[in-house]
């Protein structure tokens, strides 16, 4: 005669249900975060394109006037072109202020003006120098301005998106 011992049998249905629910939650969260990541990436791309077309292209246009002066008059006296250079730099300052007041409220225009002034001052001091002698300083000034504008875009405008708090001052 056999003795049958009856042990309680666990079907496993409860724990597998829990695992399934957790898996579904993880999948849903993962899907939501993927969709949000795509949204952020697209938004950043659009913001970057917007910054390029509103800011950088216009700055490039203004700088093209200075490029022409420096390219076409390398051997002439810098003093012959001071006024023209000052006029274009003033125009650039005016544009950056408009840009700050209408779109990118956090652009530090004063620091950009300081960069421009430290360049033009050299031209005003070097009365007998040829324009060619200031070309290096001119390139350096351009780079500093672009660098400052892109840093602004990354840190203060576009970067803010990453902590979900993007605000503009318009």
């Amino acid at each position: 005669m056999h003795n049958f011992h009856h042990f309680p049998i666990e079907s496993g249905a409860g724990s597998s249900n829990l695992i399934a629910v957790i898996a579904i939650i993880i999948s849903v969260l993962s899907l939501i975060s993927s969709i949000y990541l795509i949204y952020l990436t697209k938004r950043l791309e659009i913001l970057y394109q917007e910054f390029e077309s509103l800011c950088i292209k216009n700055v490039e246009n203004i700088f093209s006037g200075l490029d022409n002066i420096f390219d076409q008059n390398e051997l002439s006296l810098a003093s012959d072109h001071r006024s023209h250079i000052t006029t274009i730099m003033t125009e650039l300052q005016g544009f950056l202020i408009s840009l700050r007041d209408s779109v990118y409220g956090k652009i530090d225009v004063q620091s950009l003006i300081d960069i421009m002034e430290s360049f033009t001052e050299k031209i005003y001091v070097g009365n007998d120098a040829k324009l060619l002698e200031f070309k290096g300083d001119y390139y350096s000034t351009k780079l500093k301005i672009y660098n400052s504008l892109y840093n602004h875009a990354i840190e203060k405008e576009i970067g803010i998106l990453l902590i979900f708090k993007r605000k503009r001052s318009i």
Binding site: S79, R82, T87, M89, T90, E91, V109, E117, N127
Partner: protein, 109 residues
């Protein structure tokens, strides 16, 4: 009619050795030396004269330096124009006006 106080910026060049005016600090110092704020406060009209035969170029740094304290106190181009008159050629006129607009924007940001 307002009493006029003339500041002749042509005196800042030394022909034939220099024909331009520049420098923010130089501008600030010249505003102090000519006591421009005191004259404005006394209700006088400031007349700036520039003879373009001798002054060939002015850097915007000088203009910003000269007018920085004036804009800190009086804020707007409209207000400044009510007591500052520039007697010079059109190029300098435009340069000053553009820089006044920039100073207004910077000071009122």
């Amino acid at each position: 009619m307002m009493k006029e106080y003339t500041i002749n910026l042509t005196l800042l060049v030394n022909p034939p050795f220099t024909d331009s005016i520049s420098g923010r600090e130089f501008g600030e110092q010249h505003a102090k030396d000519t006591q421009v704020l005191k004259h404005i406060h006394d209700g006088e009209k400031i007349v700036l004269t520039i003879d373009s035969e001798f002054v060939k170029a002015i850097n915007d740094s000088f203009i910003k330096g000269f007018f920085s304290k004036i804009f800190e106190k009086y804020h707007t181009v409209e207000k400044i124009k009510s007591f500052v008159e520039l007697r010079s050629n059109d190029n300098f006129q435009r340069l000053f006006e553009k820089n006044w607009a920039i100073l207004e924007a910077i000071n009122n940001a």
